[in-house]
Amino acid sequence: MPAIHLSAQSFRDSVELEPVVITASHTPKALKEAPVVTRLITLHDIKITDATNIQDMLTQEIPGIEFGFAMSQETSLNMSGFGGNAVLFLVDGERMAGETMDNVDYNRMNLDNVGRIEIVKGASSALYGSNAVGGVVNIISRENLEPWTAHASSRYNTFGHEWRNSAGFSFNTSKWNSQTSFQHTRIDPVDLPKAHTSEEIAIELMKKAQGLPYDESVLNDDSNLSRLYGQKTYNVKERLTWRASDRLTLVGRGSYYFRTSERDTYDYHFNAYSAGLKGRYAWNHARHLELSYAYDQYDKANFLPDGTRTHDHDYSNQQHVAHALYHHPFGKNNLILGADFLHDYLSTYQFVAGTSHSQNNIDGYAQFDWNIIDRLNVVSSVRYDYFSASSQKAFTGRLAIVYKYPWMTFRANYASGFRAPTLKEMYMCFDMGNMGYMILGNPDLKPEKSHNFNVAIERTNRIRNSGFLDGRYNFTLVGYCNIFDKRITTIDGPEYEGKESALYWNENGVTVWGVDASLGHIWDCGVSFRLNYSWMHETGNVYFSQFNQPRTHSMTWRIGYDHRFSRRYALDAALSGRSFGKPQSGRTDVDQGYTIWKLMLQHHLWRSIRLNTAIDNLFNYKPKSYYYSSPLTTGISFSVGLSIDLESCAI
């Protein structure tokens, strides 16, 4: 049967065929049998949301995750009370070097060749080590198995006159598989509407100066942002697989990423280079050994408008990772043994001039997946990490219990997490913005620690012969508690060469309580509905920065309809939305919450052409003032995209 993407049948199949996830246990498991609740974003979800990068995707799909702005208009993240540096982002299981502002560069994670995304909330350090203190987001690439595929797509969005162009090619033989993808994006600067123009402000100011009646509110604008910077990105990736024998598979990969952000005074250039080699030897489907080496480099530099590099903001982070993973079956049970060596090098303008720092991280871990009876599964993990620069050790563990009734699945999970202080946090010595205010590192920092407890119930079932409700439904309810301690933040520091300073420091932590609920139904007639809701509450040493305004309530939803009208035309429609409650900080000078709707129509023409049309911010929501957690919108926007699958044309 020729490939017809996202038809009604394929949408239903994506739910009913029990998709497999890997992130929660390092082992492929059916989603409903994963030891920890895993939120799966499918290929269909990725296509119907029309997201450009992981930030767009998660914002539209997952409540409790909010992206905002940090200093310098880089991105900040809050996920269930954890910041961006407490959530580990992986691409095909590999971590990335570099940071923009306590985060990796989310623009690197484009979705052009992504097959699925797995999100595990809560600590996962027992498998993934440092940074998985608050959760893991694993982006997993597609592996096309057709003899060959080729596609090209282009999409335009009125917001910032954004263009997204991509192309990909793959081939597959008995021995070789190759996946090549390229993506280019461009968005113009966007001037955010101010409540009042500079001229209106000046007129009121003049009235005030002349002693005439004037409007004080015009003179006070609460916006922190007036302009979103334009940027361009280029991303090219290649992955080549060689099946040397039935047992041995070798995978080589490489990628290059470039982003330029067009600022008022300088252009910021970001470059990332990534390469890796992985070998997998399988004695059988359950017993195998994996050895890999990965290199990732992330560089930043500033350029004057005439193209001259300033060299005063050079930054380079380089990581070498060697990795070993062995799976050994014991009947229905499975043992995993793993070890990593990570060499982390950082050279940055934020260190004392001319200096650089590096450290090694060595770890070993074990996980036993014990299927005591068919209904009861216990997964336990332990891990040891050592960091050379801080001489810090960390022991982490996880115990996950899954009990499956025919009508319901119960899960209970404890996991510990940690985040080792970064080289930047230990050795920074930076005059912020050349303003005589120093940010100082602290080599005596301790790792951040977290303990995550959660319980969950999940039910998936089919309704038959009930008329209107015939179809498949599922719901998941998760309650969790995250105890987060020794959080690394900054406090007032000592005077440094006559200048005031801020010093990195371990603060007392917070406890985050929360509930995540998800309800979905797919009717046999092609209509689908999904609602995700997240509630959270923080206690303890709660710290609100202007860049981080977590919200108690958040919700996402999507009503979908897909139908094949003829051999030449199928429609996939989605009306989705997200709603965020008021910030927990109690800040009142900004909107207390917002709701944004999006309508997406995906037209499948013949077998090979897909025409996407979308109306975002359907009801034209406009923030009353723009602050760091405002949604990036100036009102309603429209997009149109065209995608062509050439292999389907050739059939």
């Binding site: 310098s72 001229e199 000046a202 100011l205 300088y266 913005g433 050349n434």
Partner: protein
Amino acid sequence: MKKFLTMTMVVMAFVVSMSSCSKDDDTPEVAVADQVVGSYTGTEVLTVMGEADESTETFEFTKASDVSVDVTLPKYGEGMMTVPALPVKGISLTKSGNTITGKLAKYEGTVKSADGSEKAYTVSDVTVIFSDKTVVVTFMQKYGNMPFAFEGQFTGTRK
């Protein structure tokens, strides 16, 4: 005939001379730029990331052309924590009644910082209103690698 020609020349000479006299009597209006140049002292409020800082400053307006002026935004801060004085050039002026309004969308320049290095800066969204001896100025200012913009308001009077 000769008398007629003589009279005609006299009349023409009179007309020409009257025309000349008339022209000589026209007082050319002072260029708008000349009407506003000078030093204005008053209160500047700089707001950055929601925090406002108020100080007494002097804004110096100089003539760039008959219909445009330059201004230098005064330095801000002390010691190493200083944003140097920033020249802004080419603010276009228009006059309406007793009010002269100046607008400039964006000005990009470079300046020596406190440590002697060259720094780029941008001043944008500039509005200036002159009325009698009072001036108000509103502007946005980005300096060097500072990751945030200053939003400025100035109200001053000419000495």
